[in-house]
């Protein structure tokens, strides 16, 4: 797996990839985030947990630049997202973040390979090059043999691995995952977890939102607990496996 970081980087002195300070988000009267401060260094794997409706997904959206805070600042890779317009945010996402979702969000009328290649093609990479890299990724994730299959015919685990491949296509500094195992049976869930662990091992920075304590403890080096839109507790976890 190609990545700028390698396993020897110590999190303590690595630069910050994510810096949230005083982030508030209101939807009408409802407060989804109520003053969140959070920093994530390069190479860290952070899990966010908390009860349903506490604001986890909202937090993730702020980091991905999918939504804007009502107040407070969001910096990713040193870039203040508040200073970017819609277009700038799109370009930012392209270069810096990869996202995976509970329900995969693959495009149904493209086969696995083209779903993955798509991310690179948006940046102007030629179809041939994009497909070559997509195939490499699918191969690394163990689903290369399914490259010509349409999402409808893939299993849940396979779909999520294709989605991960797509998220990694542009070598993002940050991989965001919202309930990546939420829609999977336990065996497929395990596979995806192993995949995330492997990625972190070779230096990929991860921010994972989950309800699943098993996922959090296995994959993450730090656990952030959110309640009522605030960071309630943070603790370091033992390096897994």
């Amino acid at each position: 797996m190609s990545n700028d970081h390698d396993g020897t980087t110590r999190p303590d002195d690595a630069p910050f990839v994510v810096e949230l300070s005083g982030v508030h988000k209101e939807f009408g009267d409802a407060k989804a985030l109520d003053g969140v401060d959070l920093r994530i260094r390069a190479g860290e794997a952070v899990a966010v947990m908390g009860p349903s409706g506490c604001g986890k997904s909202t937090l993730l959206n702020m980091v991905a630049g999918l939504d804007r805070p009502s107040s407070g600042t969001v910096r990713v890779q040193g870039q203040d997202l508040g200073g970017l317009n819609e277009n700038g945010l799109a370009l930012f996402r392209r270069r810096n973040v990869g996202m995976i979702f509970q329900f995969f969000n693959l495009i149904d009328d493209l086969p696995a390979l083209d779903n993955v290649a798509l991310a690179a093609q948006l940046t102007g990479t030629t179809a041939r090059q994009a497909r070559r890299r997509a195939l490499e990724l699918l191969d690394e994730l163990g689903v290369a043999h399914r490259k010509d299959v349409y999402p409808a015919a893939l299993s849940g685990g396979e779909r999520q691995r294709v989605a991960v491949a797509r998220a990694l296509m542009n070598r993002p500094a940050l991989l965001l995952a919202d309930e990546p195992t939420g829609a999977l049976d336990s065996r497929s869930g395990e596979q995806v977890m192993d995949l995330l662990i492997d990625l972190n091992q070779i230096g990929q920075t991860l921010l994972i939102v989950t309800h699943d304590p098993n996922l959090a403890t296995r994959c993450a080096s730090r656990l952030v607990e959110v309640a009522d839109g605030k960071v309630a507790r943070e603790r370091m976890l033992e390096a897994s496996s």
Partner: protein, 770 residues
Amino acid sequence: MSGAVWRASRAAVKRRRVQTVVIGLVVFCSTATVLLALAVISAARAPFDDAFEAERGSHVTALFDPAKASAEQLAATAHRPGVEAAAGPFDQAVVTIPADWVGRPPGPLALVGRPDPASAPVDRVELLAGRWASAPGEVVVNNPGGGAASRFVGTPLTTNTGVKLTVVGFATDMSQSSGGWVTPEQAAALHPTGRQMLYRFTDAATEQQLTTSLANATEGLPEGAVESGQSYLVLKQAFSAGADAYLPLMTVFGVLGLVVAALIVGNVVSGAVISGYRHIGVLKSIGFTPRQVVTVYLTMVSVPAVVGTVLGTAAGWVAAGPILQAAFSGISTGTAVIEPAGWLPVATLVSVPLLAALAALVPASRAHRLSAAQAISAGSAPRAGRGLKVQRWLSGTRLPRAVSLGLGQPFARPARTALTMAAIVLGVVTVTVTTGVTTTLAKSMAAPDRSTHIDVQTSAFSENKIAPRLTPEQTTAMLHTTPGAEQVSVRGLVRVGILGQPQLVFADFYGGDAMVDHRRLNVVEGRLATGLNEIEAGPAFLDQHGLKLGDRVTLVLEGRQTTVTIVGKEIQGNANAITSNDATRALLTPDPHVVEYDVKLAVGADAGAYQKAVTGADPSLSASVVTPGTEGSVVAIQTFSTTFSALLSVVAALGVFNTLLLTIRERRRDLGMLKSIGMTPRQVVAMTITSVAWQGVVSGIVGIPLGILVHRLIVEHVRIIAFPDSMIDVWGAPLLAALALAGVAIAVLGALVPARSAARLPIAEVLHNE
């Protein structure tokens, strides 16, 4: 549970506000178009027939020789087999009015002695002004144009034999049975030369049947008793000759309007149901029965469909009157009334909601059969398998990914794409036909020269009867010597008879310098009739009399006659008009009957000063400045066809709009995902526009040749206008390019708003909620 059904329907309508509005809007525009289309088609089809039947018009107006058939013998023909009804016999006399009268040129006038025909069994002549002749010396004049000439009621007339008559009324009839009517006693006193019988036959559909029926009715009369028989079919043709110019055009627009409207309503409504499959699945999973689901969806589309239909019918009804007026303004309609028929609103109020319900029912009944799980998955995305190869191939091309994604999108829903494209194609056809027809007309009306003319009318045309101060020769000389004149042409107008034909025709006789005035029609075949005993005529005249170039006819006027050759075919013209020259006129009558002089001014001449000088020299002359312009009927056709093509373009664009709206709703998740991996708003717009722009291009490629074909068909079927090829071939490269853009424009216009809303789609919400 019916409460639940109603609540679910209401919620569905509320939650899909945009869709509800779009359905309402599309149905509104379509209904208005359908109503206009039907109004035009029905009005163009039947005005003659309706008016003819209302008047109980005569199938054959027969003229008998009074020396060979007595009044008793003729009255008996009414009871012969095959005669449904008859009126007469009436005495007919032909008098000559030597001077201008009630705004008409001098000439012969046929008079029939008839009691008030208001309740006659045949030919109920319609009184337009004044009253029916009830005493000797009173005359009712036929005013074929139909307009009321009430200001002339009371005008005295004197025939060339000194008989004094007073105009007591104006009337007209679809049968054109006489030039005027007097009392039977008065007719008898005028030395009648014929006896008129008006027949309605049981078999009257064809010329052949009419001949047979007349022969049956007059069986047993002495040889040669029947002098002439005027068939209503010939009249009908003469009447509809004017309408024929417009008929093909209007029928084409009407049919296009109907088809486009039906397509779009079908597309919009069925689309609404298809995009609701997921919702249907959810309803089923919580226990709605299939029938209840169908009810929810029917209600959901019925609300806006009914509102749209009612409003569209109202709008169409309001617009139909003026549009029909404009459309038929170039046509003489006799007593036929051109107005939207009363059944039209009923037709749209019934048919459009029915169409909408049908369009909803087809996909809804499919949903009816689907299991809840199937419906949920069918609604989330188009079924895989269709159009996937195309997507695959496109993703490998060198096109920007946003563009290739857009190109592939329509293949996912081929049926919806086909319906949308059909609408765009028809929109393009309409625009093409409109452009072609208006260009052809504009070309045909282009004035041959662009200089300023002074139109000088003699008292023959004006209403205030000032006695002329100058003779025609003196007037011509005066016009020549007044500073500024370059050429002076003279037009005389007389009604002349044609040997063997019952009706008189208007003959224009041109003289002077150029023998051409701004009114003179172009000759498209043969040449201008400038030589002695030469005439030219329009296609309607030639058609109706079965004549062609090179044929000869004999003109008759005041006892003189001369045989002339048809040397030119005019571009258009009345079925009752011919054009000749002053030298030929001189063979028929010594009086030039000048109605008009046409003065072509030298470049830079002062038109105002010239005008004043003319009226100063002879106050009976009225002079007006004529700058080359467009003719009224052309303007009518232009407004009319432009209205239709605008309406159809809007409806087609709405179709595109709706298709995209549905597509975007179905693909929200995909769009959100694409944006999450870094597709910029501009790329989203590019993708969405591309997905319809190519349909616009293809529609252009298909629609333009179709439009050209339809244009050619229309132009070739317009029988009163003979377009030369130069006017039919209006398709230059720039025009074609502009038309090709029309399809794209229609598509892009409809795509703009949805594309922008797609670009603004809140990603976070979509990705986490769906």
